[in-house]
Amino acid sequence: MAGRKVAKTGNEAMAEVMRQINPDVVAAYPITPATEVVQIFSQFAADGAVDTEFIAVESEHSALSATMGAAASGARAMTVTSSQGLALMYEMMYIAAALRLPIVLPEVNRALSAPINIHCDHSDTMGARDAGWIQIFSENSQEAYDNIVQAVRICEHPDVRLPALVTTDGFIISHCMETMEILGDAEVRDYVGPYTPAASLLDPAAPHTLGAIDLQDYYFEHRRQLAEAMRQAKARIVAVGKEFGARFGRPYGLFESYRLDDAEVGLVLLGSTAGTAKMVVDALRADGRKVGLLKLRVFRPFPYEEMAAALSRLKAVAVMDRSDGLAGYGGPLFDHVRSALFDLERKPRVVDYVYGLGGRDISLDDIRAVFDRLAAVAATGRVDPLITYLGVRD
C-alpha cells in the first residue's frame, strides 16, 4: 500500500505517528528540542483528534511515572523527552523495564549539561543504555516515523514486553523539514492493533501486586528474565522490520550495510550522520576506493554477532561516537563494536572517533579525512591514536 508524500520535520513526524497510534495515555513535559512533539500532540488531544488522556505533568520524572502507572493499569501509554528530561527519567526507566511495561518513548537526542547546550549528541541516550530499554536510532524523519510504529509491535510482543526509546537527532532531524511518506490512519491502527496488556492493576477479577521487594533470593532471577527479554527482542525486531517492509515497502533490519560487501574499510555510526557519510562513500566509490559504512539502527539489544559477520571482511573500521563515555577509553559504541569483533579469526583494526558533541557540525571533509586515515590504518596496521576527537579545536 503506497503511503502519502508529505513534508514534515522530525518532530512533526513523531507527533503525527503518535496521533495515528492513538495511545490511551500520554503524560509528557516539554523540553527543547522535543518540545514540539509534546505541543503538537497536546493540540491533537485538545482538538479531539485522538482519544488519548493527555496529562500535563510538572517534570519528566513525573511524566514517566504517570506513563508507567497508566501502563501498569493496562493502557497503551507513551511519553516524549530529550536530554536533561531523559536524565531526570533515568531512575524510573530502570523500573519501567523491570516491571515489563511496554512504553514507547520518542526521544530527541541532545547533549547533557554542563555546559548547558541544546544541540545534538547521543550522551542522553547512552546514559540510559543499561536501563533495560530497547534503543532504536533513526537517520531521518521517515525512519523515526517507521521506527515508532514498529516499536509498538516490538515492545508489546509477549516474548519482549520491554519499553523502547526511538531516537532522532536534535535539530538536525527534529527541526529539519524533509519529504517523507506517511501511512493512512487506518493502516497504522490496523498495524499496531488493539493493546492486550499482560496484567492490569484496574482489573478487579485479577488482583495482583506489582513492584514488591525482591531480596537476595529472588532479585537475581527477575534480572535474569530481563536479560532474556532483551535477547528475545532481537528476533522480534528483525521479524517486525521484515514484515513492515513486506507490508509498506520499507524493510528494516538491525543495521543498514551501505556498500559494505566488497569494502576494505568502513565506518560504524548511529543516526543522522549516516546521511552525510553515505555521500562521502558514494564520492569515494566513484574514485574507485573500496569504502562502505554500517549504520547501526538497534543499539539495544546490541547485535554483536550480526555486526561481527558484517564487518569481518574489512581491514579497518572507524567507529563514530557522538558521545564520550568519559571512560578514559573510547566512546560507548566503540567499546561495543570492538568487543563484538574480538572473536573473529581475522579481525579488522578498529579506531574510535568521538565527534559532534553539543551539535558540533560534521562535514563531508571531516568524514573524508576519517576514510583517508582508515586507508593508512589498513595499510600499516597501526591504530594509534586509538581515540581521536574529530573537529575539536586544539
Partner: protein
C-alpha cells in the same frame, strides 16, 4: 514457616515483571516477631468494631457483625486496637508476648 520450606522457583518459572498474585502475605506467619499481644475481654466488649477498622494488618476477626478474636498469626502487636478501644470500654489490653508464651508452655 509455611512457604519457606518449598523449593524456590527458577527464573523461567517466575511470573515476568515481578507480578505476584494478591493475598499471598496470608500464607506467611508474619506475627511471629510480636513483642506485645492484644488480649480481649468479652465481658467489656460492646462490638463497636473500631478495632477492626483500625487494625493495619486485618488481624481482628469478625463474625456475624461481632468481634470474633485476633488473628495472632499475623498480628504484629502494634497496640492500635487497644489504643482506639473507647476508654469507657477498654476491652483490649496489651500484654508481654514472651511472658504470655511462657505461660502457654
Amino acid at each position: 514457616m509455611a512457604k519457606e520450606t518449598i523449593a524456590k522457583p527458577g527464573w523461567t518459572a517466575l511470573p515476568p515483571g515481578g507480578v505476584l498474585p494478591a493475598g499471598t502475605a496470608h500464607d506467611f506467619m508474619t506475627g511471629d516477631w510480636r513483642s506485645f499481644r492484644p488480649v480481649h475481654d468479652p465481658a467489656k466488649c460492646t462490638h463497636c468494631l473500631i478495632c477492626w477498622i483500625y487494625c493495619p494488618d486485618s488481624s481482628v476477626r469478625v463474625s456475624a457483625g461481632k468481634f470474633a478474636g485476633f488473628d495472632l498469626d499475623h498480628c504484629k502487636g502494634c497496640g492500635l486496637c487497644a489504643a482506639v478501644c473507647p476508654p469507657k470500654v477498654a476491652a483490649i489490653a496489651m500484654i508481654d508476648e514472651r511472658a504470655a508464651r511462657a505461660e502457654e508452655k
